[in-house]
Homo-oligomer: 336 residues x 2
Amino acid sequence: MPDSDKVLLAHGSGGKLAHEIVRNSVVSALDNPILNVLDDSAVINANGRLAFTTDSYVVQPIFFPGGDIGKLAVCGTVNDLSMSGARPMYLSLAFIIEEGLPVADLKKILASIGQTAAEAGVKIVTGDTKVVDRGSADKIFINTAGVGMVPEGVNISAANARPGDKVIVSGNIGDHGIAVMSQREGLKLQVPVPSDCAPLNSMVAEMLAVTARIHCLRDPTRGGLATTLNDFAEKSNVGIRIEEEQIPIDKAVAAACELLGFDPLYIANEGKLVAVVAPEDTENVLKTIKHNKYGADAVIIGEAVTEHPGKVVMKTALGASRIVDIPVGELLPRIC
Amino acid sequence: MPDSDKVLLAHGSGGKLAHEIVRNSVVSALDNPILNVLDDSAVINANGRLAFTTDSYVVQPIFFPGGDIGKLAVCGTVNDLSMSGARPMYLSLAFIIEEGLPVADLKKILASIGQTAAEAGVKIVTGDTKVVDRGSADKIFINTAGVGMVPEGVNISAANARPGDKVIVSGNIGDHGIAVMSQREGLKLQVPVPSDCAPLNSMVAEMLAVTARIHCLRDPTRGGLATTLNDFAEKSNVGIRIEEEQIPIDKAVAAACELLGFDPLYIANEGKLVAVVAPEDTENVLKTIKHNKYGADAVIIGEAVTEHPGKVVMKTALGASRIVDIPVGELLPRIC
């Protein structure tokens, strides 16, 4: 069979072409001694509390300002592990590719995966490639699962917020959603918005070096800041009060949201975290986040309270209070 | 938003409908205390050598004789872990669903996942659901990743075959591929062939209780027995000699292969294993496999030899010898 610049059904068959693409493209981009064995499972050493997570990525378009589906797939799983307090270590990587995807696109995505994994200090140790016929998928879908170790003494959960705890956001919200959305819809924003897509494991490690009393931690992806805060309020059975004026938003994102009729509280982020922290640790944690390259714009946006348990209430810029609910239906499909 | 009997884009949005489907369908089908926490990562205890693997499932049709995409997704990952000698423990479960999938189909698949996981003694501890617009996927794709612990003293690898070792197959080959193929193409076989889809972890545990000297172990899925044996020969740098007359094939499968022009050596299996075992352990291991409910038809089909390293040679029923190569291109797309 001749060389092809498109991915063929045969590339997912388990035959020679499949071997070729795995060896030439995947292993060369992600070279490490565990992956190179190419047995059915990777075998690694683990002692203690293991965090384990998975996400599939179906973002459309697959390339967008500030990232691509590959970078997103690594950051998303690295961040999910980090939000449990774990040190991310190993990732799996599974592709579902639509027949006809340019091999050049696959290589670009693999390079991006390799680069992001290197930055985050994680290894891709096992993987899978399936190819489906044209029209049965949309270019490429990626699943990553990840494992990491949770250091002793760390106990982070959405159920751990206590009245008096402060709520910190690590930077501007809504960048990722607006970046993908404007690329997809061909919107010409006055100032282009790049996705905030970034691995946050170094930030979390630095925070945990300051104090183990990080109560809740979450990256506000699908459903945005509002959904994350509601989850904390519900699971911890506390109220959460936030101040609209404190919520950091890039001007271009705010303008795009106004134009499109979106509330930035509900827009996905891929390089931000929300932390609920004991009051006595708040200043130190905030300072630490601000020192990290992805946390310069971090601020305290509110606190956990005994009133209105399970609900998030926002004091608006005009001084009124409104309940910030979770969205019922679809906001932005295929944002990650 | 009204109740729907179809999966909607909103079910994958991170909003209320997404919460509802996760709580009502997924968690109720797979109930266990780790999953129920629904944090970003599952946290579990691990001490020792951890096996970690992933596979995506894109089988078409999603329901077929003897199984469905859900059963397949659990068995596939349980079996990949088992083939490294690991005891499978925890699985992740990620859906990519095409908008419009009947919710009844999703529930049937979830029930099947729950049942298969229970049989295999594994827990689904973390997951993800994405919904894409109609036409951007084909009904449902599933990714499972899995972790398990490798017992001390176990050292299984495709690179471990030694001349003199015997090659055992745990039963009839080709059932899964022919079952899916005939369902997809609407073939009316004289005798219907059900998929062999089954979790093999109990079989492997029983084998390892007999001897730690299992050298190679693999479930011959995509690419079939031929591809598995070639991988062993290549990685172990030994020749493998097999006898056509010893290879167990169901009559209906043999007939279907003849009709369709397929070589059963290349057809996918989902409930079979190939073991390469030290000669002194062969009889005991074979007896053990035959006692397992999925191993009644196990046989020795050949051995590893010093001649023709890296190649698989088959003595045919007529006494001739032929090289059994790995396939170049596509055999049966979307078989798993």
